[in-house]
């Protein structure tokens, strides 16, 4: 198996820089999701690793071998695309077996064993002798995955493989992928724009924007600790709320006052900045029927149903607009007034220019001593 190492890798298309001087390593036996919006460069990056696109400059290594100039087939990589690439007019078994026939070192028994094992993992055994033309798109995609996995390449690249399959097959395919990664210690790179998919599949997410990796880490870590505003927005369904604040200096430093809080707060760690952006996830906003400690009054401006039947409320709070997820049992409807608490421990602060996260925190102002 192989570690993939990129060294100062760059790709330009005319004036457009698709990938900006990337240096990074993809570890073996793990799934790294390249996640980002359309046009962020994730597919170009993957195509360069596969050898389908030539870098403008920079190098690609598999372990210690420099592969930058190798053709796709010399790189021995497995690839699964959005649309299943399969051989029509053949059975499922034959589709998976075919690439293995080229490996002369493989005995017929070993070959058979490999095909059967991967069919078992992907729940394809019952389709073994079925013609692929008769299968639905989801099952076809599983055949495409099985064929790549059975070859046991050191690296497998997935380019949004579940985008075009129905929900039931999507789920099955995702479960099968997780099982596969546990069984075979390949290096897997998975490209997607779907944050839910990345959250559930990845050991590690590499979040991309404008040709650069903006943050990398375990999914939960990225979700809880976005390095910038973009990460807070992109991960999450819906993303984080952002509210602009101007700070006021006092004798002890900076304070913040405004619509989300009853009392002014102390802000530490803003390095003399006078403007910050406050971020909080919709599921961290506490919405109540009755006033409570530190609550502020809000009006429900919009309401929608989201994941798991929760209500997504759009709240107007003195000029600020905030989204909050609440239980449907609270029976809020548009026009209702609500009381809202923003727990300080769930608030993150960003600087307004680049949107980078500040190592800053909010705290109640110290009570006057007397």
């Amino acid at each position: 198996m192989a570690v993939i190492r990129l060294d100062n890798l760059r790709k330009e298309f005319g004036k457009l820089v698709a990938v900006r001087d990337l240096t990074m390593t993809f570890p073996t036996s793990s799934v790294t999701c390249l996640l980002g919006p359309s046009g962020c460069g994730k597919t170009t990056l993957m195509r360069m690793i596969a050898g389908l696109e030539e870098p403008t400059h920079g190098e690609i290594y598999f372990d210690d071998e420099r592969v930058t100039d190798l053709t796709p087939s010399e790189r021995n990589i497995g690839m699964v695309f959005q649309y299943p690439v399969i051989y029509r007019g053949m059975t499922v078994y034959r589709n998976i077996e075919l690439p293995l026939l080229e490996d002369k070192a493989l005995s017929p028994a070993e070959r058979r064993q490999r095909v059967e094992s991967v069919m078992d993992t992907l729940d394809l055994t019952r389709f073994a002798s079925a013609g692929v033309d008769r299968l639905d798109n989801g099952t076809r995609q599983k055949v495409a995955v099985a064929r790549e996995v059975a070859r046991q390449p050191r690296i497998i690249l997935f380019d949004e493989p579940v985008t075009n399959v129905d929900i039931a097959s999507k789920l099955q395919l995702k479960r099968a992928l997780k099982r596969l990664v546990k069984q075979h210690s390949q290096t897997i790179i998975y490209v997607t724009h779907d944050q839910t998919e990345a959250m559930t599949l990845a050991d590690e997410i590499a979040l991309m924007r404008d040709g650069a990796i903006v943050q990398r880490g375990a999914p939960r870590d990225l979700y809880n600790n976005p390095a910038d505003r973009f990460g807070g927005w992109f991960l999450g369904n819906p993303g984080m709320n952002f509210i602009d604040y101007s700070l006021t200096p006092d004798a002890d430093g900076m304070t913040l006052a405004g619509p989300l809080f009853q009392e002014p707060l102390r802000v530490d760690g803003v390095d003399g900045r006078r403007e910050v952006v406050l971020g909080i996830r919709p599921e961290r906003v506490r919405v109540l029927r009755q006033p409570a400690a530190n609550s502020v009054e809000a009006r429900v401006a919009q309401q929608a149903l989201v994941v798991g039947g929760q209500h997504l409320l759009t709240l107007e709070i003195g000029g600020a607009v905030v989204k909050a997820k609440v239980s449907p049992e609270m029976r809020f409807s548009v026009g209702d007034s609500a009381h809202v608490v923003f727990p300080l421990e769930h608030i993150v602060l960003f600087e307004p220019q680049e949107g980078l996260r500040l190592d800053a925190a909010l705290a109640p102002l110290a009570a006057p001593t007397n």
Binding site: P37, S38, G39, I167, L171, K174, R175, K178, H193, D194, Q195, T196, M199, T200, P219, R220, Y223, W233, F234, L235, G236, N237, P238, G239, R281, P282, E283, Q302, A304, L305, V306, V307, G308, G309, Q310, L312, T314, K325, P328
Partner: protein, 360 residues
């Protein structure tokens, strides 16, 4: 509520395939209506009949109180947003948006403020001078929507306009579409097979299944008390769990547990479908209480950020549960206890109609 569009006993076949069967449907004015159904349920045909691209074999279509069954598309005064962008590549964004007005003979001078307002509503004012090939996919779709809404009318048809767009782009457009509809005070008739989109957008929903409307109503009501098993199954994210049960007097026996059933009047069949939404399956319930508990295996846990989707297997049945992060520690794969409040169980007869609910 005023009715904007009404289908009266409309049927349509293509060859021997009956696509729409005896469709009766009232679509309200000044309302966001989503026609929701699985792929190939007949949604596109309903839209083709509505816009006049196809004529019904039987029945009548009424619009703003007039019979328009035989009216040509151009006579119906409907704004239309197609599924794919279909922008004119050699026209600027401005000219693309202005196109429907040009067709109606509106002068550029009169069209300009209308185009500007539509562009403003869709946050694309800065793009008016560009050509379509200079735009991202999300921007193109915004242009297509702007072009669909420039018409001075009160009925707009949106044919699955967000399909294929990035997840985050869709999320942004949800709010914009709702606000735009409210600002226009028009009827939006929107088709999709995506439950999440329906839940985010609809004020009213019509559930279409195999060419028939199986359920119509306010979204909240339909979601809370689905009257048809297809609605229950499909209109939710994740989809609802379904398993079979046997009615025996007032008792319903299922592979998971037996429970008392409160049935609506009328004959009760023996074989029923039992449905429960993912959020109504509790993992590791507190001891005691009125919940029905059962042993289950956690097969897979998907952390989707604010929530976790937990895939279970119990008594040979695959079940999906969804839990909020705050409600639970970290459920790990393996044996667990799960529970359901019997009042959250919905019962459906062999024809798919609701026949009652579980009871304590």
């Amino acid at each position: 509520m005023d009715v904007a569009v009404e289908f009266r006993g409309v049927s349509k076949s293509y060859g021997r395939a009956v696509i729409v069967q005896d469709l009766n449907l009232s679509i309200y004015a000044n309302t966001f209506t989503v026609i929701f159904g699985a792929p190939a349920c007949g949604k596109s045909t309903v839209l083709r009949l509505l816009t006049g691209l196809d004529k019904p074999d039987h029945g009548e279509i009424w619009m703003r109180g007039q019979n328009v069954t035989r009216a040509a598309p151009g006579q119906r005064n409907i704004g239309y947003v197609p599924q794919s962008f279909a922008l004119y590549p050699h026209y600027s964004v401005f000219d693309n948006i202005a196109y429907p007005l040009k067709l109606m003979g509106v002068s550029t001078r009169d069209a300009t403020p209308v185009v500007q307002r539509a562009a403003e509503q869709l946050k694309i004012s800065h793009l008016l001078g560009k050509k379509p090939d200079q735009l991202s996919g999300g921007e193109k779709q915004r242009v297509a929507i702007a072009r669909g809404i420039v018409k001075n009318t009160n009925i707009f048809v949106l044919d699955d306009p967000l399909t294929g767009l990035d997840f985050k782009l869709r999320e942004q457009l949800f709010d914009d579409l709702r606000q735009m509809r409210a600002a226009l005070g028009a009827a939006f008739i929107y088709t999709t097979s995506d439950a999440l989109e329906t839940l985010m957008l609809a004020e009213r929903v019509s559930v279409l299944d195999a060419g028939r409307i199986v359920e119509v109503g306010e979204l909240e009501t339909v979601y809370a008390q689905p009257q048809h098993v297809r609605t229950m199954k499909l209109l939710g994210f994740p989809e609802a769990n379904l398993f079979s049960g046997t009615l025996d007097g007032g008792l319903c026996r299922t592979p998971l547990f037996d429970f008392r059933a409160a049935l609506v009047n009328g004959s009760a069949p023996t074989e029923v479908s039992v449905a429960v939404r993912p959020q109504d399956i509790v993992i590791n319930p507190p001891a005691g209480g009125t919940l029905k508990t059962f042993p289950a295996d956690i097969v897979l846990v998907e952390d989707i950020g604010g929530e976790m989707v937990v895939y279970l297997e119990a008594a040979g049945l695959p079940l999906t549960a969804v839990v909020r992060h705050s409600d639970i520690g970290d459920p790990s794969e393996g044996r667990t206890t799960a529970a359901i409040d019997p009042k959250r169980l919905f019962l459906y007869g062999p024809n798919g109609s609701s026949i009652g609910q579980g009871a304590h």
